[in-house]
């Protein structure tokens, strides 16, 4: 490491810590002690916790309560409904090495992403240049450092005591727009970083607790929504400063020694917390699971700047989880497909940090989530895959498209553990793919440049449990709080009127317990001057599966209508389309708009900006969750209730649940008990009659593989995984008993494969030392 001293405006290396160590040496020592001993920073004994448990708990409670309340107070400063309504913000406190001590509620994925930014500053000697001083503020949203997507902007403030650095606090908000090619925070259209919006790399953006003027001027003109942007920044700064005050007060009350000891012990405590939960809730062994999602870019409604991006591809995320006898675990993603020319790539930190969001909802449902859990977990994310790109051009605006899809499969794996031990209450069949993301922009109803991203997605259906149905329109995997937001607020934020908002019939996966249903809102463009919108979600594929006999949820589809004549129809008092698209195969909206309207009703759920005039329609369909258990085990009364609540189409009550139903003159559905019992017995016989032994089917499938009989996107997915993983290829060939010489090369598919052979990693830039925290 180069030691630099007394750089102008910097801080002398080694001057920040009482030990005289540089920040990087300090962190490296912690890593070394942890690796050698197996305990965080070598802490075999938790001296403070053991000698003065009350002080330990007092410090924890004070910090945690302060983090939560600072978030609640700061939230009120924001004007963006994403922050103010949906709570898409989070504050986290770190020790000197950038390891998380405690976090607020909210989008806690950022426990890891802001920690990665701090570690990046440490490892790349920010200490010398630009210097780290009391009153400084740093801003980061760089996806190559670990941020999930550019719209999550983090403000990071160092905390000092008596001239020494004692920690960091970070605050993050999800902003509405970052000036990407496509408007909205999770847009598409761009296919590279150079179009994904502004990216700020741990830049010093404030001194003496004041944002720098050049930063304020530059950042606001780089985004479409500067008013929201600046209020979001004030939110983050206010929260960080409140928490800094809280830490200073804690040090005054408890003493610096106790605080610093706490800031280390709490992480070892968190590490032990995870292993004890693994031991008390899971079953040792090997779990295999896999997830997919569609990237349908060949379609004419996907306009991208580069021809090499116009290909249909599939995200592939196999995972092998090993729960070890030591009650630690390893998650290995060998076999993932390559990164691509779209905005769904993810950085390893986004991937691993996000997993804690889901684990806090089951395995570690505790306020004590901190970096300790990471130290009890081994992750392997192979380099070159979509979750660890080996090229610095990748775009990440909607990394969630892949992240939520891949994580859905992890629920199934951990749920097998819970089920086996009888903890049925913890079983979750998976998470919905929380989409559609209604996004767009232009000139809004106020005559201002605007962009939108509807966070109605925060309330999708949840997965079924082993003892009850999933919750309807309730939550999203990335923000456990879950809130669809008030119609009145969205109508203020977007030039889109609600024609209706209603539960999405038949969207939850079937099962003994069904997945939670999603919902749908029909929006009519109103008051805009120039307006575009697009769709973002899964359509040709499902990313969730259902568990132990349950079915996946319904996939997405798209409905948009132009030249509707609706404004005319409203004037004349004619019938209007309401919110309910009961059965998309039997269109209803179309009966209440002009017969000459241009309607798009199909499975193309990813599009880029399309022009929408006032009076045009857009259906926002928020997905349901997967089901649990054989649908034939569903109680008959539950099926009747589903029908009467409009949760289920009668056709599928008959076909999937095998019940005999009738409707009385009041329109109430009834299930005939005796006839249904017989019908279900008959259904079992039909199932057996129409199925074949797996070995027999494997023979046929093997022939299809030998004939290379599959769609190009399926073959591209396998070829890209084979090229990155000989292990995956070997296992594939062995399973299907393919000849030794069998191969499938992407070159043979006749599609562009930019990036497959030639790429350049971030680490090849001069003076850049990426922080690597996972095996690759």
């Amino acid at each position: 490491m180069t030691i630099m001293n007394n750089i102008a405006d910097g801080s002398a290396v080694g001057s920040l810590l009482q030990s005289g160590l540089s920040l990087n040496d300090h962190r490296n020592l912690i890593l070394q002690r942890t690796q050698e001993s197996g305990y965080y920073n070598g802490l075999e004994n938790l001296e403070l916790k053991e000698s003065d448990p009350i002080a330990y708990e007092r410090i924890f409670s004070k910090l945690r309560a302060g983090l939560v309340s600072s978030r609640e107070v700061a939230k009120k400063i924001a004007a963006s409904p994403i922050v103010e309504q949906e709570g898409e913000l989070c504050f986290t406190l770190y020790n000197v090495a950038g390891d998380c001590i405690a976090t607020s509620t909210g989008i806690i994925i950022h426990v890891g992403t802001m920690g990665a930014a701090i570690k990046y500053m440490i490892q790349n000697n920010w200490e010398a240049n630009p210097g780290i001083n009391p009153g400084d503020m740093f801003t980061n949203n760089d996806c190559q450092i670990g941020n999930v997507h550019p719209c999550d902007i983090a403000t990071i403030v160092p905390i000092f005591h008596d001239g020494n650095l004692v920690g960091w606090v970070g605050g993050v908000t999800h902003v509405i727009d970052v000036g990407a090619v496509g408007p909205g925070s999770m847009s598409n259209g761009q296919i590279q970083r150079f179009g994904d919006g502004v990216q700020i790399t741990c830049r010093k953006t404030g001194v003496n607790d004041t944002p720098l003027r050049d930063w304020l001027h530059e950042s606001q003109r780089n985004v479409r929504t500067p008013k929201y942007w600046i209020l979001d920044e004030k939110t983050r700064i206010a929260g960080c400063h409140m928490i800094r005050d809280l830490v200073e007060e804690t040090i005054r009350e408890e003493g610096i020694e106790a605080y610093e000891q706490f800031a280390m012990e709490v992480i070892e405590d968190g590490r032990r917390g995870l292993t004890s939960r693994i031991k008390s809730m899971t079953i040792p062994g090997t779990y295999k699971t896999v997830a997919f999602v569609d990237v349908p870019y060949a379609h004419e409604d996907v306009a991208v700047p580069s021809p090499f991006a116009k290909v249909d591809t599939i995200m592939h995320a196999p995972c092998e989880i090993t729960v070890k006898p030591s009650a630690t675990w390893r998650l290995d993603f060998e076999g993932c497909s390559r990164w691509g020319w779209h905005t769904y790539n993810a950085n390893p930190v986004a991937f691993t940090s996000g997993i804690w969001v889901m684990m806090t909802q089951s395995l570690v449902p505790t306020e004590r989530i901190n970096d300790g859990a990471r130290y009890a977990t081994e992750f392997r994310l192979p380099k070159g895959t979509w979750t660890n790109p080996d090229d610095r051009r990748t775009a990440h605006a909607d990394a969630w498209h892949f992240l939520v899809s891949s994580w859905s499969s992890l629920w199934r794996a951990v749920s097998r553990s819970y089920f086996g031990r009888g903890y049925l209450e913890e079983v979750n069949a998976g998470n919905s793919n929380p989409c559609n993301w209604l996004q767009g922009g232009g000139i809004n109803q106020e005559g201002e440049i605007h962009a939108v991203n509807s966070f109605e997605t925060a309330a999708c259906g949840t997965g079924a449990c082993a003892v009850k149905d999933g919750l309807n329109h309730a939550a999203a995997i990335w923000n456990p709080e879950g809130d669809m937001g008030d119609i009145e607020i969205w109508e203020l934020a977007e030039p889109l009127l609600y024609m209706g908002r209603t539960v999405k019939t038949n969207s939850g996966g079937y099962g003994k317990y069904r997945g939670g249903l999603g919902f749908e809102t029909l929006r009519m463009v109103w008051g805009s001057a120039d307006w575009t919108m697009f769709f973002m979600g899964n359509g040709y594929m499902n990313s969730d599966w259902g568990l132990m006999g349950g079915y996946p949820s319904a996939t997405g589809y798209r409905f948009e209508a132009h030249d509707t004549d609706l404004l005319e129809r409203i004037k004349e008092g004619m019938s209007l389309p309401q919110g309910k698209d009961l059965n998309p195969d039997m269109p209803e909206f179309e009966k209440h708009i002009s017969p000459d309207a241009r309607v798009k009703r199909d499975k193309q759920c990813i599009t880029t900006e399309a022009i929408f005039e006032n009076g045009d329609l857009y259906l926002n369909y928020l997905r349901g969750g997967p089901g649990f258990g054989d649908p034939l085990d569903r109680e008959l009364e539950a099926v009747a209730e589903d029908l009467n609540q409009n949760y289920l189409l009668p056709e599928y009550a008959e076909k999937v649940y095998a019940v005999v139903i009738s409707r009385d003159e009041d329109g109430v559905w009834h299930v005939d008990e005796q006839a249904s019992i017989e019908r279900r017995l008959q259904k079992r016989r039909e199932r057996i009659a129409s199925a074949v032994p797996v070995h027999q089917w494997m023979e046929q499938e093997r022939e299809r593989i030998l004939d290379l009989n599959a769609s190009t996107q399926v073959k591209q997915m396998f070829a890209s995984s084979f090229a990155l993983s000989s292990k995956f290829l070997d296992e594939f060939k062995s399973f299907w008993d393919l000849p030794e010489e069998w191969e499938l090369l992407e070159e043979s598919l006749g599609i562009p494969m930019f990036g497959a052979k030639h790429h350049m990693d971030l680490s090849e830039l001069p003076d850049v030392h990426p922080v690597i925290m996972t095996e690759q």
Partner: protein, 166 residues
């Protein structure tokens, strides 16, 4: 630490547990005895004598054969899917939804996957027709071996004697 009665665990298995108790189960530290209670409830529901070692699903269990202590995967109906180390799915029946027509039996066309991208593979018991699992992969995808438990370590964790042939 909370503990629960056999009645409560029975109600849990049947999806009939009152919300207060269920909420307590969710929010309190886990009761280690649950496994034993769960097995006891399940054992009373099956007609065969083999000892349930590990439930894999509502109707699928790793059991220790009463005859020779072999560990096999077994359906509620008694169907034997073979050695527990092998993937039980390979000995099941399968129904693959790989066309628009077959998909439309389970979802409206616009709410089902496109089978050039994804298929549904339904794994069924050859004897009773119970649907034990639905996979939703791309065509060509190898059959997933969901779970290979390390029974020896598990019984170690539970501080219980492991099955003789684990």
């Amino acid at each position: 630490m909370a503990t629960y009665t056999k009645k409560q665990v029975t109600d849990l298995v049947h999806g009939e547990l009152d919300w207060d108790s269920l909420h307590r189960m969710l929010s309190m530290p886990k009761d280690k005895e649950r496994y034993g209670q769960f097995i006891e409830v399940l054992q009373e529901q099956v007609s065969w004598k083999d000892r349930i070692i590990l439930p894999l699903g509502p109707h699928l269990f790793i059991v220790e054969s009463a005859k020779d202590q072999a560990l096999v995967t077994k359906c509620t109906c008694g169907h034997d899917f073979g050695d527990y180390r092998q993937n039980w799915k390979l000995n099941a029946l399968i129904h693959v939804r790989d066309s628009e027509e077959k998909m439309s039996e389970v979802y409206p066309k616009l709410m089902a996957p496109h089978t050039e991208w994804q298929v549904y593979r339904e794994y069924l018991c050859p004897t009773c027709g119970t649907l034990h699992d639905v996979e939703a992969p791309t065509p060509w995808y190898p059959v997933i071996h969901d779970f290979q438990p390390d029974l020896k370590t598990f019984f170690d964790w539970m501080e219980m004697p492991a099955p003789a042939r684990a």
